[in-house]
Amino acid sequence: MTTRAFQKVYTKIDNITKATITLRASGVGNDELATVGGRLAQVVKIMGENVTLQVFSGTEGLATDSEVVFHGEPPKLRVSDALAGRFFNAYGQPLEGGELTEGEAREIGGPTVNPFRRIQPSELIATGIAGIDLNNTIVSGQKIPFFADPDQPYNAVMANVALRAKADKIILGGMGLTNDDFLYFKHVFENAGALDRIVSFVNTTDNPPVERLLVPDMALTAAEYFAVDKGEKVLVLLTDMTLYADALAIVSNRMDQIPSKDSMPGSLYSDLAKIYEKAVQLPNGGSITIIAVTTLSGGDITHAIPDNTGYITEGQLFLRNDSDTGKVIVDPFRSLSRLKQLVIGKKTREDHPQVMNACVRLYADAANAKTKLENGFDLSDYDERSLSFAKDYSEKLLAIDVNIDIDQMLDTAWQLFAKYFSKEEVAIKQALIDKYWKA
């Protein structure tokens, strides 16, 4: 950035830590940006004339006489339709080079939508994956993460969901993305001929971790432009939020804050909520839907990051390997979409809610039978049937490679009911049994 006349320039830094510097300066605003020895930094604390800045790319090699230039404004992104089809770094600078000069510069991390002005989400987002559409239906304006171990194909699933979701714009916020995954996304979107609908803000593993902190706000500022100003349906993909939270922990640690659970900052809940709550259905028809990835360590959802996330998001989609069928499935027990009640049986067929619940209940019976089997007990006839049902259910419906529409999913479920169970065992409202039971 070129120096402008009104900008204050300092050349004496008092303290340097791994991520922050402190210097004496005046007239500095909170959250303001600055350039420190050519690197971007942000004001995080002001005590009298001592100003502390967080240097995004780290302080390695900075000297106490490095030049500090205050920009006089918080981080901004230039928004316009020209964003579409382009790839940016965490600062909103085009990766392929050149300056993006078009459009109004908007502060990132802006204010909250008045809850009273929100509209109740009611539009179904079909993905073709039964583990999602049948059991955990996603609705536009929802925020939902995939909980997955690092070895699971979450990025591939997410790319699939994004392309099938019929969104006007897809905004990818990549945090700590490996270069391979970044190229994968680029490739998939390119092949689908969807590049003109995609805007990407990417921080790869090659980039400094603290830079990641800007990515979600950048992505969501662009999303708000398309949803609020243009009335478009925007899908925001954030991967991987665990790496984002790790970056938060690094900064809070450098600022000597007392860590709470799992060495995470005490404000983790609010920090994550500020991002996820940008998901919204607007009165003008525009919407922001957020699908995120939170990687787990060994499936542990009690860790502070997935735990806080679960309390903020409207459900979670749990990926796991099903040892019976050898496929990756969306776990029906631990997955949940809180907004599905707004559409199932209303926007979808009337039998949807009850069929969904019956499937999961019978699948749970199969899990019990499996425990019995593992403990060396004899299985009853019902146990045997539920085990066979579970295998079919997992293969024909739960597996993420299934791609059928919702009516087909329901029909498949009824077929499985009739194949393995009696009407009493399925225990669905009689009126629905009369109408849909496949004799």
Partner: protein, 585 residues
């Protein structure tokens, strides 16, 4: 002269202010960032430096920016016109705000100061009155809203003059009071009260003795909540806390319901905004929104205001209680409130307690729960605030500071279990872990004897024992195998499943099953209990499980049928026949 100050330090939303005069702890001040005026509260004073928490974003605030102190604590505005409103945590009316986004420093009036109310005096000139005494009333929706002597007025007064019946604005003087020294005080329909202090204008706080119907069987039948009582619902995410709270807010037998959405999801509040104006209160036939006040500080709204929101809700609850009304205050979730306290404490660099929460967390929580209760007003009427909070324990582990502190303060404990939620047994209230201390109260026992039937509490304990024994039998079956235990074990297990499926589980999304009035609960519970008391004669465990599955299916169909409809009676007859055919004579 107001005390003023200058910003001298900024750490996130904590601002250090160098002051030029006296400041009080918890005093409200305004911080100016350019032309934007942001509200803040003093939370610590060191020398001439006041540490204030700003209820807004401090972005672009600079050293030297101006601060004005207001000389009072955070107050709620109490007057007719609070019902049906949607406030933020500081009682700004969200509906009155312009624009899609909430601009920084947005302040809107909590009530309509221009609206005229049809006022009717209740007191007479010459009456001796104290704070909280009813001077008159206006009709607010279907609530007779009492105009009271402001709570802040200490000592006793004589009514000097009263406005005649007629229509007035809230700011019009409707009475003049005279103290013992002859000073006169005009009284209007609007008063203010500092939210962090309890309103104590009542004679006594007797033990709760009546039960508040919620329409949720697992609560009303198994662990009833008392009117004026306290309860809390801890549970991991996805266990159904919010669905349960919404069900209660729709169905509870209360005059006024205050929902505090504290640091939770905005879409959940939108659901209330969308549904409540349409839904009908099952007890009065009025629209739900007419008796509801929503205090909404969602998770992305400023943290400091989140802390204030629960107090604002409770203060409004106490205000309506003083009118002799039954108020239910619900907060979802109190963990977010505790986290707001933690964030503040952390920024103030206080020495942390367990899990980095402030040391006095337990005291703050019990103080807050103590504000609920049944009260006997000076004029002999009773009013109540029933408080129900949810807790979101980290990792679903109930051994964490917020759950443990709340357990000490609340009398009802509705533990939501992950296991039940996983197998879609909703509401996921764990029948063995949960409790209601009110079942032990002789007053409550008497009330239930009279209002449901004689020895009802004994029947409740009998059902709990059956569930307990069923679980033990199931453990045995799991260890020894289906064939390894006598068939009687299976029967025991399936009887507990019968109670579980028919009484404890309830479909909150079914138009009929969602709300189960006391009369219906009594009938269903007695039917189920009668079956549990019978001896059956099964050839083997397969027959036993098959039999009970069919029975449960019939009962479920009955739960889905309209109360006392033909279909309902038909299922009842089918069940009776099914049972009589099988049970040993």
């Amino acid at each position: 002269m107001k005390t003023t100050g200058r910003v001298n330090g900024i750490i996130s939303n904590i601002v250090i202010v160098k002051t030029d005069g006296a400041v009080g702890q918890n005093e409200i001040c305004h911080v100016y960032c350019g032309t934007t005026r942001m509200m803040a509260e003093v939370i610590k004073v060191i020398g001439d430096e006041a540490y204030v928490q700003v209820f807004d974003s401090t972005r672009a605030l600079k050293i030297g920016d101006r601060v004005e102190f207001e000389g009072h604590m955070l107050e709620a505005t109490l007057a007719p016109g609070l019902l049906s409103r949607n406030y933020d945590g500081l009682q700004n009316d969200l509906e009155k705000m312009d624009g899609l986004f909430i601009a920084r420093g947005s302040i809107t009036d909590p009530i309509d100061f221009e609206k005229k109310w049809e006022y009717k005096p209740l007191a007479k000139v010459g009456d001796k009155v104290t704070a909280g005494a009813w001077l008159g009333e206006v009709q607010e929706q279907w609530v007779a809203h009492k105009i009271m002597v402001p709570f802040i007025m200490q000592g006793s007064y004589t009514v000097k003059s009263l406005a005649a019946e007629g229509s007035y604005k809230v700011t019009d003087t409707i009475a003049t009071l005279q103290d013992t020294d002859g000073n006169e005080y005009p009284v209007t329909m609007v008063q203010k009260w500092p939210v962090k202090q309890a309103i104590r204008c009542f004679d006594e706080k007797p033990r709760p003795s009546r039960v508040m119907e919620t329409g949720v069987r697992a609560i009303d039948t198994f662990n009833p909540l008392a009117e004026g009582g306290t309860g809390f619902i801890p549970g991991p995410f996805g266990a159904g806390k919010t669905v349960l709270q919404h069900a209660i807010s729709k169905q509870a037998e209360a005059d006024v319901i205050i929902i505090v959405a504290c640091g939770e999801r905005a879409n959940e509040v939108v659901e209330i905004f969308a549904e409540f104006p349409e839904l009908v209160d099952p007890h009065t036939g009025h629209k739900l929104m007419e008796r509801t006040i929503i205090i909404c500080n969602t998770s992305n709204m400023p943290v400091a205001a989140r802390e204030a929101s629960v107090y604002t809700g409770m203060t409004i609850g106490e205000y309506y209680r003083s009118m002799g009304l039954k108020v239910l205050v619900m907060a979802d979730s109190t963990s977010r409130w505790a986290q707001a306290l933690r964030e503040m404490s952390n920024r103030l660099e206080e020495l942390p307690g367990q899990d980095a929460f402030p040391m006095d967390l337990s005291a703050i929580i019990s103080n807050f729960y103590a504000r609920a209760g049944l009260v006997k007003l000076h004029n002999g009427h009773t009013g109540s605030v029933t408080f129900l909070g949810t807790v979101s324990p980290a990792g679903g582990n109930l051994k964490e500071p917020v759950t443990e502190s709340t357990k000490k303060a609340a009398r009802c404990f509705y533990a939501l279990s992950q296991g039940r939620a996983d197998s879609k047994r909703y509401p996921a209230i764990d029948p063995l872990e949960s409790y209601s201390k009110y079942l032990e109260y002789p007053e409550v026992r008497e009330y239930l004897d009279e209002h449901i039937e004689k020895n009802w509490v004994d029947a409740v304990y009998e059902g709990k024992t059956i569930v307990q024994r069923g679980k033990e039998a199931n453990d045995q079956i799991n260890i020894l195998g289906d064939d390894g235990v006598p068939t009687e074990y299976h029967e025991r297990f399936w009887k507990s499943e019968l109670i579980d499926f028919v009484i404890l589980q309830q479909d909150a999304f079914d138009a009929i099953d969602a709300n189960c009035p006391t009369e219906r609960q009594k009938m269903m519970y007695n039917m189920v209990l009668d079956i549990c008391r019978k001896q059956f004669d099964f050839a083997d465990f397969e027959e036993c499980s098959q039999y009970f599955k069919s029975l449960i299916n019939l009962f479920r169909q009955m739960n889905y049928s309209e109360w006392k409809s033909e279909q309902f009676d038909d299922y009842r007859r089918q069940i009776e026949k099914f049972v009589n055919d099988k049970s040993a004579k």
